[in-house]
């Protein structure tokens, strides 16, 4: 332990402690600009200067990096210190007049204005180097650094060009004390709801409100620690030490009797239809993005805002985006008409905007659905029957200036209309999950031509599959709305329970078997069985089929060169007779 005095107060601290840390323990605040507890001290701003008395006499030292020594006497606010801080803060004020934090700090020392010459009134950067150190020490990337000497010193990227080393983590902007660094939208748009537009989400998040379990998790794709093996700030600041980087996704094997496939759907990627301008034009959003915007726990607290923060006065909703379209999906996604009407209703209610629906056919079967549609008609919703041709920001007259223009044929009027709106919502359809094919193979089931999982029979076995014990629930089988999904899931669960309740599985009746006395032990059948149901019995020199393993395909039977293998229900004789039979009538 080291004994020293700070402002006359004695204190004992562990060796290796800095004066700044020691002073903090005693409650003496020392101003800092270039210091950050998670970064190595840099001692560049010199604001943390204190006066130290030791055997060599009095000396001004920076407290952020100076290690305490036995017998030190430190003054954190002596006249000399105050004078040094005043001058240094004035120098920084002159250099970066727009850095408010500096002026505020100077005001504490009675400095209102700098005595020094100022060159650039807009300057915010005080060259404290926090960003550069954060980039190197936290992000581990060194994508930014200092260039030039002296007064020409600037923080920049190598050769002043954007470079791939930058992982756009935003550490530099986060740590910047003066706001000199901002994260820019590459499209130059003002960012109001970052989830929707760009910029990385935080690497540690609770997936969504009310998530279960309601615990934050690290997104390893976004986390700097996993990208560059640096950072680790969260572990440093987490007092209960709950952060564990070594945790990994684990694959656990669970033995089950039945499996429900409820892999759901994926929404249609609206940017595939370039003419609607999604991803290019501002304020063209998808229905799901509208839901997030409208959500009370969403980024805008439920207010429907455009990217410039204003409320839309007119909104177009385009139906059947990616559905009922030979170029994308031929089928009707079933749920879009109704949710579009809901969006229209909410939009009108929340913003008072004029809402235009562009539909092909209005499909509202179901309990209460048609009535809702009627209600909307009464509310004065604009419903235009016709597929929207495109969305553009190309104005042909003053009314269209600064707006999104939807062009559509109004088939009821028989004319092409141009409707200028502030915001466009695309009612995107439902699509099978991109990995449906993979899942399908894994479970040995089929897919329909659209890619939805195929039921065993469309009428008689709508939740079963061709694989016993595997059932389908929800929209992995095809587009469904919520009640339908719930109903079908219930059915699937009931089927699964029935199987579980019975507690045993019926074997296939059509298993293969071997006439032992006729088997020559040629082993031809053994490698053919994908289920390893056939084994060779050495002492008898014959093959033997385990009927519990046999799934009854009959491949071995067809290959058995001496006909010793046969299949129940499908013996050679039976099939020969069947062939004769089917050919016997004219």
């Amino acid at each position: 332990m080291i004994s020293l005095k700070i402002n006359g107060k004695p204190i004992q601290v562990e060796s290796g402690t800095t004066i700044l840390q020691a002073a903090k323990q005693l409650g003496f605040e020392i101003p800092t600009l270039c210091y950050h507890p998670q970064l190595e001290p840099y001692a560049a701003c010199r604001v943390c200067t204190v006066e130290v008395k030791n055997e060599k006499g009095n000396k001004l030292m920076t407290s952020c990096n100076s290690i305490v020594e036995d017998g030190m006497e430190v003054q954190t606010d002596s006249d000399a210190v105050a004078q040094a801080r005043k001058i240094n803060l004035q120098l920084l004020m002159a250099q970066a007049p727009a850095a408010e934090i500096v002026s505020e700090m100077a005001a504490n020392y009675g400095v209102g204005d700098t005595a020094f010459l100022s060159e650039n009134a807009e300057e915010k950067c005080i060259l404290c180097g926090l960003c550069v150190r954060a980039c190197e020490q936290v992000a581990g990337t060194s994508a930014i650094g200092f260039a030039n000497r002296g007064k020409d010193r600037v923080v920049t990227t190598p050769f002043d060009v954007q470079n791939e080393a930058c992982i756009t983590c935003g550490s530099c902007a986060f740590v910047c004390p003066t706001g000199a660094i901002t994260m820019d939208d590459p499209f130059g748009r003002e960012v109001i709801h970052d989830e929707m537009t760009l910029g990385p989400d935080k690497a540690i998040t609770v997936p969504f409100m009310q998530a279960v379990p309601n615990a934050p998790a690290i997104d390893t794709e976004a986390c700097i620690h996993f990208k560059t093996d640096a950072c680790g700030l969260c572990a440093e600041v987490c007092e209960p030490e709950a952060i564990d980087y070594s945790q990994k996704d684990e694959i656990e094997e669970v033995e089950v009797g039945t499996i429900l496939l409820a892999t759901g759907f994926k929404t249609f990627d609206a940017s595939r239809i370039a003419k609607y301008g999604y991803g290019k034009l501002p304020n063209v959003i998808t229905s799901l993005e509208f839901e997030k915007l409208s959500n009370a726990s969403g980024p805008t607290g439920g207010d429907i805002l455009m990217q410039d923060g204003s409320v839309p006065k007119s909104v177009g909703i385009i139906h059947c985006v990616g559905s009922r379209d030979d170029n994308y999906n031929k089928y009707c996604s079933k749920v879009c008409c109704m949710y579009s009407l809901k969006i229209a209703h909410l939009m009108a209610e929340k913003t008072g905007a004029e809402v235009y629906n562009f539909y092909i056919d209005m499909r509202t079967p179901g309990k209460g659905y048609e009535e809702f549609y009627e209600r909307l008609l009464e509310e004065g919703m604009h419903l235009i029957r016709g597929r929207a041709a495109d969305v553009s920001d190309w104005a042909m007259n003053e009314d269209e200036e600064g707006k999104l223009v939807i062009r559509a044929e109004d088939t009821l009027v028989g004319a092409v209309r141009r409707i200028p709106v502030d915001m466009v919502v695309l009612a995107v359809g439902l699509e099978p999950q991109p990995d449906a094919e993979e899942i399908r193979r894994k479970f040995n089931i089929s897919c329909s031509s659209d890619g939805w999982f195929l039921e065993r029979h469309p009428k008689l076995a709508p939740v079963s599959t061709f694989t016993d014990g595997v059932f389908l629930a929800g929209s992995c089988q095809g587009p469904k709305d919520i009640p339908e999904t719930v109903a079908q899931s219930g059915a699937a669960v009931a089927e699964a329970l029935a199987l579980i309740d019975r507690g045993y599985v019926e074997l296939e009746p059509n298993t293969a078997f071997i006439y032992e006395e006729e088997c020559s032990g040629c082993k031809t059948c053994i490698p053919l069985c994908p289920f390893s149901a056939i084994s060779f019995v050495e002492d008898k020199n014959v093959s033997e089929i385990n009927e519990a393993l046999c799934k009854g395909c009959g491949t071995c039977v067809a290959a058995c060169p001496s006909g010793a293998a046969q299949q129940h229900l499908f013996t050679d004789e039976q099939i020969f007779e069947e062939i004769k039979g089917v050919l016997s009538y004219v």
Partner: protein, 321 residues
């Protein structure tokens, strides 16, 4: 009690079956001791008239080898059927058509054309081909009618038993004769040989792997054949797994693959199709291109799988166009 009378007859065949009888060596003496050979044209001077002169069913058994491919053979076997208590189809040719049966890949016309016109060694300026009836010096001379299709014995007459093989193995012959003498015959229509495939008695069977899959089919001249290892595992088209046992695997012992002369086991109807199925199944390929490559390595599939059995197969002859 007089000794049972026995006959031997030879139709479309190579004569090897007759040799097989002779191959009994001194055993033939025991046969002669036990039976009275009353008809054996290849060895003894009997005439058709001698047979015709017999009472119906006078012969206890008649062994007929060779396929049937002309009218004279048909007539003879019909007579023999009448005069014999039992007819035994002797050897692959009468059993399944045999090598001569491969003529079913052609027809009478093309065969005559080849044999009498286009074969390089022929000297036939007049282009003469055999005629059933020919006038020679005022008399009519007859030749048997040559059929378009080669037939197995049982396609022509009712056959009681079959002695398979090309030629039938001696021990099977002895076994058959003994059974007849002792009256311990199986059900009519039976093949007088074990009803298991050759792998069962093959010396190399233990070297056959359980995960047999073939990357390339080879012909014997293409490799130096290992004398211990399963021939199929070496890539040779050995049909032993589809072929009835009873030959003591003499070909395999001679380091040559089984070609299937003993015919199928009792549950198999079409020897060639079944053997083909077994061989194709173990080709190690799933991709169409690879399948074609490996399967393409099997030269002459019809000749390979139906070397002895074409007339007895489902398709039995080429479709006429």
């Amino acid at each position: 009690m007089s000794k049972p009378k026995v006959g031997f007859y030879w139709c479309a065949s190579c004569g090897g079956c007759e040799e097989a009888v002779v191959d009994l060596n001194e055993g033939v003496l025991d046969v002669v001791e036990a039976v009275d050979i009353v008809f054996w044209p290849v060895a003894l001077d009997f005439k058709r008239s001698d047979v015709e002169a017999m009472e119906d069913g006078e012969m206890a058994v008649c062994f007929i080898n060779g396929a049937i491919r002309n009218s004279e053979q048909k007539e003879m076997v019909e007579i023999l059927r009448k005069k014999s208590g039992l007819i035994v189809a002797f050897g692959s040719c009468s059993h399944m058509g045999g090598i001569p049966g491969l003529a079913n890949l052609h027809d009478k016309e093309s065969i005559f054309n080849r044999v009498y016109h286009t074969v390089p060694t022929i000297d036939n300026p007049d282009g003469t081909i055999p005629q059933v009836e020919t006038s020679v010096c005022g008399t009519t001379v007859e030749l048997p009618e040559f059929w378009d299709t080669v037939r197995t014995l049982n396609q022509v007459i009712d056959v009681d038993y079959y002695l398979p093989g090309c030629a039938p193995p001696v021990n099977l012959i002895v076994g058959a004769v003994t059974a007849i003498l002792e009256g311990k015959l199986p059900e009519k229509g039976a093949v007088l040989a074990p009803d298991k495939a050759l792998c069962d008695e093959c010396d190399r069977r233990e070297s056959k792997p359980e995960n047999l899959c073939i990357d390339e089919f080879k012909r014997p001249y293409q490799i130096i054949i290992d004398e211990e290892e399963c021939l199929l595992a070496q890539g040779l088209l050995c049909l032993g797994s589809a072929t009835r046992a009873g030959c003591d695997s003499i070909c395999v012992k001679g380091n040559m693959p089984c070609t299937g002369c003993m015919g199928p086991t009792s549950r198999v109807n079409d020897f060639g199709a079944k053997a083909l199925s077994a061989m194709a199944s173990v080709a190690n390929a799933n991709d169409e291109k690879d399948v074609k490559r490996i399967i393409g390595g099997i030269a002459d599939p019809v000749g390979s799988f139906n070397k002895y059995s074409l007339p007895a197969s489902y398709l039995h002859r080429k479709v006429r166009k």
